[in-house]
């Protein structure tokens, strides 16, 4: 039975308890939650988180899942946006033991079936679904099925930088030079070797990043029908 057969289509609100909270990079918070009545998820899916004020005002936002389906906890990585209603709350107010309303998993398009040779071209917080996919690939004993090119500003500011490298991802920095590479966006020459044999490309990041990534993939000869995009809401 594949995960496609068990990941639910309809979901209901439930609750999740924060089991751990870390600030792995200056602008992000990583939460690991125990979700009641958790349902199985495919890598690339997201959860909704709903905060409720004493006057019953609510705010809900979507967050991609970083953890693999086999992980007993659900992991989220949230970028703290200045003035961001939900992300600042999670980074600054939420504590271990707090209970949050959650709903998921949601989305069946930006998901990987852990069978199809695929590439993730991801930037900034957009690395999150690539982490779920790489963990699933490793868990399935098929890390070769997935290639990852991640883009961050610097090693310190790139979420999951170490884990990405351990997975064998190509990690490029736009504001940080390394011994082998000047600072700057990834080039077609860096991307091209990762495309051999892939059937799907997952692009995730800000809309500006997504625009650049799509252009780069097409420059390398990928057809638009092979590209799936998820944008994390920045205004365009």
């Amino acid at each position: 039975m594949s995960i496609d057969d068990v990941a639910p289509t309809a979901t209901a609100w439930t609750t999740g308890r924060i089991i751990s909270k870390e600030l792995p990079t200056p602008a992000t918070v990583r939460l690991r939650l125990h979700v009641d009545d958790r349902m199985r998820h495919r890598p690339g899916q997201h959860y909704l988180l709903r905060l409720r004020a004493p006057d019953d005002y609510t705010a809900q936002r979507s967050y991609s899942v970083a953890s693999d389906d086999s992980d007993p906890l659900l992991e989220l990585l949230v970028e703290k946006l200045p003035g961001g209603e939900v992300s600042e709350f999670l980074a600054e107010v939420a504590e271990v033991g707090d209970v949050l309303e959650m709903r998921g998993p949601i989305g069946r398009w930006f998901t990987w079936d852990v069978r199809t040779p695929a590439l993730c071209l991801v930037g900034g917080t957009g690395v999150v679904p690539a982490i779920a996919m790489s963990r699933a690939a490793r868990h399935a004993g098929a890390p070769d099925l997935l290639r990852v090119l991640a883009v961050g500003r610097s090693p310190e500011e790139t979420p999951y930088d170490d884990e990405l490298r351990r997975f064998g991802a190509t990690v490029t920095y736009t504001r940080h030079a390394t011994g082998t590479r000047p600072a700057g966006p990834p080039s077609a020459a860096e991307l091209a070797p990762l495309l051999d044999g892939i059937e799907l490309a997952f692009v995730c990041g800000s809309s500006r990043f997504a625009g650049l990534a799509e252009a780069l993939l097409m420059e390398c000869g990928l057809s638009p029908s092979m590209i799936r995009v998820e944008q994390f809401g920045a205004t365009g």
């Binding site: 289509t9 309809a10 979901t11 209901a12 609100w13 609750t15 709903r50 905060l51 409720r52 004020a53 004493p54 006057d55 005002y57 609510t58 705010a59 809900q60 936002r61 979507s62 209603e85 709350f89 107010v93 939420a94 504590e95 707090d98 209970v99 949050l100 309303e101 709903r103 949601i106 989305g107 069946r108 398009w109 930006f110 692009v203 809309s207 997504a210 625009g211 799509e214 993939l217 097409m218 638009p224 029908s225 590209i227 799936r228 995009v229 998820e230 944008q231 809401g233 920045a234 205004t235 365009g236």
Partner: protein
């Protein structure tokens, strides 16, 4: 459901009675959400077709659609990801005008909107008739930007915005409902923001 410890309202209420449940006012922002690569479509080659269960399947080119009688929608739009945007103005042609030319057959009860990218979204015919839906190319007096569906998108402002298919190329009239792209991928079949019809099961 429990109150979230330490959480207090930070967003002001939208204009009285205009913010559907669970939505917030995104102000001057207009987030871009897209599932596919953003296409470059030239107005020179763009056309829109109304076909399926109609008596006169019809296509219009860019010039032809601009010769139809125009109308402007001024009001609010609501995205399932919880932002709403107030007082937007889109200009184009009412879907009523296109349907009148194509003449839907009596058994036509649903519409599948198709984009040139392959994106689809389904709607009851009653949600796109009677002055409720437009095919638009102008936002705030300017050509509709590519990332927002330019040159031409569907506009169904009383439903969540995924129903307002970007890069619209075809309206297919059908007798039976059939889920479109997001509807197959976990979203609600109709998407009324006032009823919070966001996901399957709502």
């Amino acid at each position: 459901m429990p109150v979230t410890r330490g959480f207090v309202r930070r967003r002001p209420d939208g204009p009285e009675g205009r913010l559907p449940p669970g939505q917030y006012d995104t102000g001057s922002g207009w987030p871009v959400l897209t599932a596919e690569a953003t296409p470059r479509i030239s107005p020179d080659t763009w056309k829109i077709t109304v076909d399926g269960l109609v008596d006169h399947p019809t296509s219009w080119t860019w010039d032809e659609v601009h010769q139809l009688s125009r109308s402007t929608y001024t009001g609010d739009i609501h995205c399932v990801t919880t932002w709403s945007k107030f007082d937007v103005a889109f200009t184009g042609v009412s879907v009523d005008v296109l349907l009148e030319a194509a003449t839907p057959r009596p058994e036509a009860a649903f519409v599948m909107a198709h984009s040139s990218t392959g994106y689809t979204t389904n709607l009851p015919l009653s949600d796109v008739t009677g002055g409720k839906a437009w095919v638009v190319w102008d936002h705030g007096g300017k050509p509709l930007a590519r990332e927002h569906g330019g040159p031409v998108r569907l506009l169904v402002p009383h439903l969540y915005f995924w129903k307002s298919a970007k890069w619209i190329s075809r309206l297919e009239l059908m007798a039976h409902d059939q889920p479109g792209f997001w509807e197959r991928n976990g979203y609600h079949d109709r998407g009324d923001p006032w009823l919070e019809q966001r996901y399957q099961g709502d």
